[in-house]
């Protein structure tokens, strides 16, 4: 008799979803976050949900946790006490960065380089040198390193990043420096680049290492606090942490390499969406997670999320395997405003949770996207099952005023705000689809987050998408997604080898080493040997290309089979991604070997709806404004009441607790047995 509890900690609220393993019953709680020590909010959430479920702490069998707080720690510029040790001759490496100035031509005149994560006076050199094959050219000057470490600590440094040239090929010198830090200053946190990111390109590796060590004290501490409390109440249960690669690991593992949790915030939602899509029968999806201030977008092919390894946290590059998620600054709370030149803008300014949109009557005075929805008749008189009464006349007044500036009616402007918001989301979708070589028209759009289903068909129409999936309880899909995560650990090794000269034995040996490391690590997470899967892949390119493509090795292939497969399949993947290939004409180059070690988790059953013959009738009608046709009196349906397979045709609105599904003319919606609504273009 156990309760699985998932806690999704955001900047403002902590969402908790618990599932009873016995009967599939779900419980949901929302509680304030406690950013200074997230363990407090986390434990509050656990206690509340246990109470709601009518259980005791000892019934909790598994705890899953995802968080955005590590990102916030970076964003809040908590950089104090950071030091860096680099190879002799490279002390200015992070000052120089990649010499690049962002965006427009001419910006170099006025653009100001943001402060470096670690100030130059806290960067020290270590005399030591490897070549790119890991051959030692100069041995490590240990005495010099000891002086450097002591000086840094003397100056108040308590987090040290170590990044030596070519350490991905040979980590001996970095390891030694780590040992010296531990030996001399056991309380000082440190991260080695060969552990954090054993991949070439020294600047990005150094920055990722610095960010890892920067968030280490914060993450390690709160995870340990939470773990100690949990142990005292629930005993030795798994406490698993979401990572940006879409997998979970034990909290000790996460705390040891916290950069892997840094961008995990939106990942769980994508996994939840994949889970519901699998049930609904869609393999290729685009996810649209519309929150209050922003929207997270990702592409999933064959139920496998698109991955990337490069992202920016504010001005700083972070390389770690992560779901390829693009965020655009438009959400339900985005404000509609007029710029200095009389142009109508939507977002990134936002009403936020406080004061919120005008119609929430919490002090908001500026029109938000939610107010536009109210004006257009897309929202009912009250939200969350009647708990939040909407002041629609005040929204109307604000849009009357906005409309006057453009000689338009309130509803015309409000519909235009939706058009602009949808277009902003479309630009984000282009970033994860066409710029990566995929046509969104071939995908189904999965909308979630509180406001997702209000925008989904508008966005789909822009992109020529024919299907939208709206899962049930869309506001909790992120927390729910934590329940369907596998244990995942990624391993990478840079090994630049050209096909014409490559030694297959060497490649196989390196791959096997990664596999063995991965197998051992996942087993230590408590996964049974039979549930462990090792997935090989490789980053490969034509000689001279700037970007590698990832070639996934078919399961079960090893040795020369795997290597032959890699060289051959590369051309196909390249053609698929870029539209051309040079098979037989140009030499191919391996750059990185990768292994993902996966421990399959048992997933909770989704409770099916009871089948009933009774087709639901509309619960009422409401006037709704559509940009193409104007006002139409539309039927309103209660989502819960729809029978399995029942199809309603637009224009109509389908309402549920906490969310509204908009079905325009030329779209229809049908309910499936898992509570999904499937919208189709007719």
């Amino acid at each position: 008799m156990t309760l699985r509890v998932a806690i999704d900690t955001g900047g403002t609220f902590t969402d908790v979803v618990a599932i009873d393993d016995e009967n599939g019953e779900q419980y949901v709680v929302k509680t304030p976050s406690t950013p200074s020590d997230p363990s407090v909010g986390l434990l509050n959430g656990v206690r509340e949900i246990v109470e709601i479920a009518g259980r005791s702490g000892s019934d909790v069998g598994q705890l899953l946790h995802g968080s955005t707080t590590a990102t916030n720690a970076v964003l809040e510029h908590k950089f104090d006490g950071l030091g860096l040790i680099v190879t002799k001759g490279f002390r200015h490496m992070i000052e120089i960065a990649r010499q690049s100035v962002p965006d427009g031509y001419g910006n170099s005149f006025f653009w100001v380089k943001p402060p470096r994560l670690c100030p130059l006076h806290l960067v020290r050199e270590a005399a030591a040198r490897m070549d790119h094959n890991g051959e030692i050219i100069d041995e490590l000057d240990e005495e010099g390193v000891v002086v450097a470490i002591d000086e840094l600590v003397e100056q108040g440094v308590n987090c040290i990043g170590v990044c030596l040239l070519h350490s991905y090929a040979n980590d001996a010198h970095e390891k030694r420096i780590g040992a010296l830090i531990e030996e001399r200053h056991p309380g000082v946190f440190y991260s080695l680049s060969s552990v954090v990111l054993p991949e070439y390109r020294e600047y990005e590796r150094a920055m990722t290492t610095l960010i890892d060590v920067l968030v280490k004290p914060y993450c390690k501490t709160y995870l340990q606090n939470a773990a100690d409390e949990i142990r005292s109440e629930a005993g030795q249960i798994p406490f698993l942490i979401m990572q940006s690669n879409g997998g979970v690991v034990r909290h000790e593992t996460a705390g040891g390499k916290p950069v892997t949790m840094l961008l995990s915030g939106p990942a769980a939602g994508v996994l939840g969406a994949i889970h519901m899509s699998r049930l609904a029968g869609f393999d290729d999806i685009l996810t649209l997670d519309v929150g209050g201030t922003s929207t997270d977008i990702s592409l999933v092919s064959k139920l496998t999320p698109q991955m990337t390894s490069y992202s920016m946290v504010e001005h700083y590059p972070v390389k770690t395997p992560m779901l390829d998620i693009v965020t655009v600054g438009t959400g339900g709370g985005s404000l509609a405003w007029v710029d200095d030149y009389g142009g109508l803008k939507v977002g990134p300014r936002s009403a936020g949770a406080v004061p919120g949109p005008i119609c929430y009557s919490r002090g908001g005075t500026k029109p938000a996207v939610t107010d536009a929805a109210a004006v257009l008749g897309r929202l009912p008189d009250a939200l969350v099952g009647g708990g939040l009464k909407l002041d629609i006349p005040s929204s109307q007044k604000a849009f009357d005023e906005l409309g006057e500036r453009f000689g338009m009616s309130a509803e015309e402007v409000a519909a235009g705000v939706f058009e602009i918001a949808a277009a902003n989301m479309v630009h984000g979708i282009r970033q994860v689809s066409t710029t990566r070589g995929s046509d969104p028209g071939a995908y189904a759009l999965v909308s979630f987050g509180g406001a997702g289903a209000m925008f989904a068909t508008d966005v789909a129409d822009f992109l020529g998408m024919k299907t939208v999936l709206s899962p049930p309880n869309p506001g909790n899909l992120s927390a729910y997604g934590l329940h369907v995560c596998d244990v995942k650990q990624d391993y990478i090794r840079t090994l630049v080898r050209q096909q014409s000269k490559a030694d297959a034995t060497e490649i196989e040996e390196q791959w096997r080493e990664l596999e063995e490391t991965g197998r051992a690590a996942v087993a230590s997470e408590g996964v049974a040997p039979g549930d462990i899967e090792l997935l090989r892949s490789a980053d490969v390119r034509y000689v001279g290309e700037g970007h590698e493509v990832s070639v996934a090795i078919a399961a079960g292939k090893t040795g020369t089979h795997a290597i032959e497969f890699m060289w051959n399949d590369f051309h196909r993947v390249h053609d698929e991604s870029f539209g051309f290939e040079y098979k037989g004409e140009q030499d191919v180059e391996l750059v990185n070997l990768r292994v993902q070690a996966v421990g399959r988790a048992s997933r909770p059953e989704v409770k099916k709806k009871l089948d009933t013959d009774a087709q639901a009738s509309p619960s009422g009608t409401r006037n709704v404004f559509w940009r193409e046709t104007g006002w139409i009196e539309c039927p309103i349906y209660d989502r819960e009441s729809l029978a399995i397979g029942q199809r309603v045709t637009g224009p109509t609105i389908v309402e549920e607790y906490g969310s509204t599904v908009v079905v325009p003319t030329s779209w229809s919606a049908r309910a499936d047995q898992y509570g999904n609504l499937i919208l189709e273009k007719v």
Partner: protein, 640 residues
């Protein structure tokens, strides 16, 4: 909801969506170029430009300056532009001023909606090699453009979707890195086509009328922004300024002046290039006197953005074709640096790029009470090539930035490149790919021009070659410094030295392509520091002290340039306040009135010796201009 029934008038909604879509399409095209191109010059150094134009060839986007569409109109009849066409050229003398040197191959595709031409999508890139006398196609002693590579006048590489195979083969056969070039060109064509589909989708959604009205409005808004936010900050009047390219690679002892007379009125800026020196024998010419100077007007306009209220606002201002409504130009007679006669070499025209921008900024500094950024020299190409035969041949080439300019609101950024998103090559990448070892990747001490806000520091980069190699250096500013503004000092110089395996050192000229670096030798590069802004004696002593602590400014320079005396205190440095006060008083008295501009010792010396020849009607444009305070008063005026 889409299609022919769509609204046909432009409202705020359509305008915002179309504007956003153009911006997003531009980013998509850029991503496609980077994703699929082959040469490091394009994908890592970002040396390519993307643009979308309307059917009249007016540029709708402002992220980069791009080329022009005019050659399509000039070389092809109205009826000879069809769906599936791909126009292609690199001819500096037959591209209406849009393409400045032969390695820039330009791809342009027309955009159609229902048989009607609605715009163009264009990508051009700086390619690794298009033939010519030396690898990299930038011979420093080229005497005509035919030595610089294969010259392609405007042609159709695809005609209604059919590839011109003969041209395709000839182009790639003429490159030392033909396969790279082919990959790049294919990538550029694919990317341009991708962008055209986004514009077509807008025509489908809102109708052609609304789309074309949106284009008009986007351009009008740019001109309105310049007039409302930027022009009021420039005092009406006429201002002259000049700057120099040091060396043309052929006649090595001659410096070349670019001259500008700027006249500012309430709603326009007139730029007259008369007085510019005659065309050069070597490859520093820049033919821009075509198509009413459209290219150079769009190229210069972004300099004005520095006058915005804040750097954040400056970044938001998009400089599209609307800018040419504000900027007018006048060219001198044929036969000058900017009006060269047909066939003169142009490979290193990027020196003039920077002189033109810097000269405009200098004239604006006079007209704004010194409120413009100082100078920065942030493009130069250096490299090495080697290998005993074609199979082993390699070309390791990098565009290295320099220190950014000091400006009223901040110190110059260290080692930046004027080309946005350009990236240097990681040492770990370079060492894996080429037979070299990076011995040092640092900032050059004391290279930043001193100032109240100092310039940024240049590179100190040292590379050992593991095999015999030949050095390439295409660099200016090796003896004429980046200027400082409003009392700021000039920045440090470019230099390249070869350390022989026996330890002896030989300096190479900025313009070199024949120096041999034997195996084990080290190439030592120092790049320019940015000019300083404002009086260095007014710089906060603790900032000077921090630069000393970091090793970026030497204690000697802290004293001589800033009048700051520091003392070592354990691992740190502290300011000796009393000594600093005394020294600053002494230095201020000794220097007399502070000049508006500092061009460094070489130009001062040339002036003293009377070795700068000003044309008729010209005099030293710096003379009589002094640094001013926030109220616009010079030292002398304040004293009075």
């Amino acid at each position: 909801m889409a299609g022919k029934n769509a609204k046909t008038t432009l409202g705020p909604i359509e305008l915002e969506v179309i504007t956003g879509t153009i911006r997003s399409a531009e980013l998509e095209i850029e991503a496609a170029v980077e994703r699929t191109s082959r040469s490091p010059m394009i994908r890592d150094q970002h040396d390519y430009r993307v643009a979308l134009f309307d059917a009249k060839g007016r540029k709708l986007t402002g992220r980069s300056y791009s080329a022009l569409v005019e050659p399509v109109f000039e070389y092809f009849d109205d009826g000879d532009i069809h769906p599936g066409d791909v126009f292609f050229w690199n001819d500096p003398y037959n591209s209406c001023g849009g393409i400045g040197h032969v390695p820039d191959l330009c791809t342009t595709v027309p955009i159609f909606h229902e048989e009607r031409l609605i715009g163009f999508s264009q990508v051009f890139g700086h390619h690794d090699d298009v033939g010519g006398a030396v690898p990299g196609s930038l011979p420093v002693d080229a005497r005509d453009m035919w030595a610089e590579g294969l010259v392609i006048p405007p042609i159709k590489l695809y005609d209604k979707g059919v590839l011109n195979e003969a041209a395709y083969k000839i182009v790639f056969r003429n490159s030392r890195l033909g396969e790279h070039l082919r990959g790049d060109v294919d990538a550029e064509i694919g990317a341009a086509l991708l962008g055209s589909r986004r514009i077509t989708a807008m025509a489908e959604r809102y109708g052609i009328d609304a789309l074309e009205s949106a284009f008009d409005t986007i351009l009008e808004n740019c001109a309105a922004t310049i007039r409302r936010e930027l022009l009021p900050k420039i005092k009406n009047g006429t201002y002259t300024w000049e700057d120099f390219v040091e060396c043309d690679g052929v006649e090595r002892d001659k410096i070349h002046a670019f001259r500008l007379t700027m006249t500012k009125t309430d709603d326009k800026i007139f730029l007259d290039f008369s007085g510019t020196d005659p065309e050069a024998a070597g490859p520093i010419n820049w033919p821009i006197d075509y198509a009413d100077g459209k290219f150079i007007r769009k190229f210069m306009a972004p300099v004005l953005r520095s006058l915005a209220d804040s750097p954040e606002r400056a970044a938001e201002i998009d400089m599209n074709e609307g800018a040419i409504d504000v900027l007018e130009v006048k060219f001198p007679e044929k036969g000058t640096l900017v009006t060269p006669t047909f066939g003169k070499p142009t490979g290193m025209r990027f020196f003039l790029f920077l002189r033109v921008l810097g000269t405009f900024a200098g004239a604006l500094a006079k007209a704004t009470g010194g409120r413009m950024p100082a100078d920065h020299e942030t493009i130069r190409i250096w490299g090495m090539h080697g290998g005993r035969n074609q199979d082993e041949f390699y070309l390791f080439r990098e565009v290295l930035g320099g220190g950014g300019p000091g400006r009223p609101w901040a110190d110059g950024s260290d080692v930046v490149h004027i080309v946005p998103n350009s990236r240097n090559l990681p040492a770990e990448f370079s060492e894996t790919r080429y037979p070299i070892r990076v011995e040092k990747l640092g900032l050059a001490r004391d290279s930043a021009g001193a100032g109240y806000r100092r310039g940024g520091f240049g590179y100190n980069k040292q590379i050992r070659t593991l095999g015999d190699a030949t050095l390439l250096s295409n660099a200016d500013r090796s003896f004429i410094n980046c200027y400082g503004v409003n009392g700021g000092k000039a920045g440090g110089l470019y230099g390249v030295t070869i350390e022989q395996p026996d330890g002896s050192e030989v300096e190479a000229p900025g313009m070199s392509d024949d120096r041999v670096v034997p195996a084990g030798g080290i190439v030592k590069l120092q790049t320019t520091g940015g000019g300083g802004w404002g009086d260095p004696l007014a710089r906060e002593p603790e900032l000077v002290c921090y630069d000393v602590l970091c090793g970026l400014v030497s204690p000697d320079a802290a004293q001589s340039d800033y009048g700051v005396v520091v003392a070592k205190d354990g691992n740190a440095f502290v300011v000796d306040e009393a000594a600093t006060g005394a020294l600053r008083t002494k230095l201020a008295a000794a220097r007399g009135e502070l000049n508006m501009f500092d061009r460094g010792p070489v130009v001062d010396d040339l002036r003293r010796k009377g070795e700068i020849d000003w044309p008729e009607g010209w005099q030293d444009p710096d003379e009589g201009w002094h640094a001013v305070d926030a109220d616009g008063r010079s030292d002398a005026e304040r004293a009075a």
